[in-house]
């Protein structure tokens, strides 16, 4: 299934907000997605991270060395902070949000440490999320779709339809996209 080769497609959101699941969904539906195995699957992401450069794309965006042009017409995962460093271009971004307490629980589990300043961390990531959403909303070269991880798990069909409408291309395997939503991997559930 061909995406527009003049557009950089991005899956984004805070870390642990469902970005890997979104990439899995897009990949399952037959859409062009770019990822490698530099960070193998693990307990935090049993089905894989679906990311490039071991998740260190942000560093490459910060120093201007990430070859965005090579990834036009494909989805890549760039977590929220990295969007601050997107150069001028033509972007379609699917941005995932998730219950913040679930995100923090998942971050602690992944880093294998208890956050003694959890409330401060929470405020920081809420601010970051808000700042990045404002940033991309105000860019003329960005179209974005906001989705919610918790809602995708509760209503996969409705959310898959939103993604389909947003991408505005035919011939996406919507059934496979829905099937890729694995509720068994919904851990750190708070709602």
């Amino acid at each position: 299934m061909r995406l527009d080769e003049n557009v950089n497609y991005i899956v984004s959101g805070l870390e642990r907000s469902g970005t890997s699941m979104l990439m899995q969904m897009l990949y399952a539906s037959g859409l062009e997605t770019s990822f490698d195995n530099s960070r193998p699957s693990d307990e935090s992401n049993p089905k894989g991270y679906y990311e490039l450069a071991g998740g260190k794309i942000i560093n490459k965006l910060m120093d201007g060395t990430f070859p965005l042009d090579e990834y036009k017409g494909k989805f890549v995962k760039i977590t929220a902070y990295g969007l601050k460093y997107l150069p001028s271009g033509n972007y379609k971004i699917i941005y995932s949000e998730r219950n913040i307490e679930e995100i923090l629980d998942s971050m602690e589990k992944m880093a294998d440490l208890k956050d003694d300043n959890r409330e401060e961390t929470k405020e920081l990531f809420i601010k970051l999320n808000s700042m990045i959403k404002n940033l991309i909303q105000n860019r003329d070269d960005v179209e974005f779709l906001l989705v919610n991880y918790n809602d995708i798990l509760s209503n996969p069909s409705i959310n898959v339809k939103k993604i389909y409408d947003f991408l505005d291309i035919d011939d996406i395997d919507l059934e496979k996209m829905i099937d890729a939503v694995d509720k068994k991997l919904y851990r750190q559930r708070k709602i």
Binding site: E15, K56, I58, M110, A111, L113, L124, F125, L128, M131
Partner: protein, 77 residues
């Protein structure tokens, strides 16, 4: 031509064409009948917020703390 009504006081502003196209798509089917009416509404909202203390400013210090957290998760070197 006689000016029977009060003089309309409007100022013309320019916005980039891609932005104008985005706005036209967004207001289709809403109560906004023109780009101008939507832009006026949004700008009024923005102006009414200016001066209020924002608690959501993302400071340099905040940014450094976020980067530290991202390093611990393996998303930054």
């Amino acid at each position: 031509m006689a000016e029977g009504k009060d003089k309309k006081k409007y100022t013309t502003i320019s916005i980039p064409t891609p932005l104008a196209e985005k706005i036209k798509k967004r207001i289709k089917g809403t109560g906004f009948t023109s780009l101008s009416s939507y832009a006026t509404y949004v700008l009024r909202e923005v102006i009414s917020d200016i001066g209020k203390e924002s608690k959501e400013v993302f400071s340099k210090e905040d940014e450094e703390k976020v980067k530290e957290r991202l390093r611990s998760l393996g998303y930054l070197d």
